[in-house]
């Protein structure tokens, strides 16, 4: 179970979100804002459940999230019929990666995809024998694995970290997800209120310098405020906040790059009902591994 301080944090978050929902539905009932706030309810619900489950169930839970994201990615990218088999191996890599996370085998967890699958998947393509498009497909599949399986699985490994001063992996995951989510929201809010200068107009026309800078400072403060969920002192928390804010932004725009490349605006629109997982995990794909290694370097 969660420590009482993280329980209180969750309750406070739900209260804030409930307030935001009420304000949006009563005062600003635009579809865009409604969709945004609804999706935040899903995310909050999803992750609260994820971190409250026992550790084995939590592994299945995060593995399923990786699976959904990878499946959406594989559906979106162009592929040849022969790529199916390579993709099948990529799916098989998910339970193995999460098994290594679940048993806290750090060495295998950290090299299974970047080393072993990196070497194995091209060989699988050799066995299939389709030479045309070999390089593109190898790159596409490996990249998807790195992002949506390797990257996201850091959340799962973080859950298994031993507690230090009474705060353990669950609190760290909560801290990370909370700040990543707030970073997205704050970038949007700062941008809406003060945004004038577009930061990368070619990739993400809605992102502004003001949004980025505003969120950067707010998240740095929030990171210190919420540092009771971590073993950090104030300047370590400040560093974590800055890291999460920048990494979250980069993750967001990198996923936008894929969508621009494929030619869709919103993966959720393309696949209603089942889509939008990529849009939900885009920032986490970057913040999870970076924050994990920040904590790992400082404390483990």
């Amino acid at each position: 179970m969660l420590e009482s301080n993280s329980m209180i944090t969750l309750v406070v978050l739900m209260a804030i979100l409930a307030l935001a929902t009420a304000i949006i539905y009563v005062k600003y009932p635009t579809q865009e804002l409604k969709d945004r706030v609804n999706s935040w309810w899903y995310i909050l619900g999803f992750f609260s459940l994820g971190i409250m489950l026992n550790s084995t169930l939590a592994m299945f839970f995060f593995a399923f999230l990786s699976f959904l994201a990878l499946k959406e990615y594989f559906t979106l990218i162009p592929s040849r019929l022969t790529d199916r088999r390579v993709m099948f191996y990529a799916y098989l890599a998910i339970p193995i990666q999460y098994y290594f996370a679940g048993i806290s085998w750090y060495g295998m967890f950290i090299i299974w995809i970047p080393v072993y699958l990196f070497l194995l998947l091209p060989f699988r393509q050799v066995l299939i024998g389709e030479t045309k498009g070999f390089l593109e497909n190898t790159a596409r599949v490996q990249w998807g694995l790195m992002m949506f399986v390797f990257g996201l699985s850091h959340l799962a490994y973080m859950l298994t970290l031993e507690p230090i001063d009474g705060v353990g992996g669950k609190e760290l995951v909560l801290y990370l997800v909370l700040l990543t989510a707030f970073n997205d929201v704050l970038q949007y809010l700062w941008g809406k209120s003060f945004g004038k200068h577009k930061i990368i107009p070619k990739v993400s026309p809605n992102k502004t310098v003001e949004g980025f800078v505003g969120a950067f400072f707010t998240i740095s403060i929030l990171a210190v405020l919420f540092s009771y969920l971590t073993p950090f002192n104030w300047y370590e928390a400040l560093g974590a906040g800055m890291l999460i804010s920048v990494a979250g932004f980069v993750g967001d725009v990198v996923i936008s790059m894929i969508k621009r490349d494929i030619g869709v605006k919103d993966s959720g629109n393309l696949i209603p009902g089942h889509g939008g997982v990529l849009d939900r995990v885009d920032s986490l794909v970057y913040t999870a591994p970076l924050f994990f290694h920040y904590v790992h370097y400082l404390y483990y």
Binding site: K71, F88, I271
Partner: protein, 205 residues
């Protein structure tokens, strides 16, 4: 038909709706009661499973796919599976005179207020390539002009489980249900061609 229900609850629906995943457009065009004829492009064995998974369990009882007798009923175990798991209507691809009207099974089903699934291409083709439609559907529409014919376009099933492959690989399957088409007295060839272009345009949007 409890075996069919169990088969769908525990095997087909989890596989189709969760492992692969269906993204459905035009849900409001799906019939809730029979009689109706659903037609779709055909690339994969998954097509039938996807179409049947779109219905509620209550309606599923009334949903019956049409399959070639020479493929689905050529061995006793296949006949048993087709009958009990899918409630398939077997269709003879090369009917003889003595056996009566080749569509009698389909017409019986329509008379029983059932929803019939048909692939007018006749058989599974290459992934994401549509073959010309056969005119059987025009015969049915002429015989039952009041029964709505509902066109569907399925995209992605041919990637998840192509013809001739046993390995199922998860991809999200797009299904687009179009509005019911009614027979307006056109010729069989015209009707079939029209239906083809409707499915083609559903696939594109």
């Amino acid at each position: 038909m409890w075996i069919k229900k169990l088969f769908f609850i525990f095997l087909v629906r989890p596989l189709v709706l969760i492992v692969a995943g269906v993204s459905l457009k035009g849900k409001e065009n799906l019939p809730i009661t029979g009689p109706a004829i659903l037609i779709a492009n055909h690339n994969s064995h998954l097509d039938t499973m996807v179409m049947m998974s779109l219905f509620s369990l209550k309606t599923l009882e009334k949903v019956r796919p049409i399959g070639a007798e020479d493929y689905f009923c050529n061995k006793p175990y296949k006949t048993w599976l087709s009958k009990n798991l899918l409630d398939l209507i077997p269709l003879k691809r090369k009917p003889t005179k003595e056996e009566g009207h080749p569509f009698s099974g389909i017409y019986n089903a329509l008379d029983n207020q059932e929803i019939v699934l048909l692939f007018p291409e006749g058989s599974r083709g290459d992934p994401e390539v549509m073959k010309p439609f056969k005119t059987g559907i025009a015969h049915m529409a002429e015989a039952y002009p009041d029964v709505p014919v509902i066109p569907l376009a399925i995209h992605g099933a041919g990637k998840a489980l192509p013809k001739g492959e046993a390995l199922f690989v998860p991809f999200i399957i797009d299904v687009h249900v179009g509005e019911a088409v009614l027979h307006k007295g056109e010729s069989k060839a015209e009707y079939t061609k029209n239906l083809y272009s409707i499915v083609e345009s559903l696939e594109k949007c």
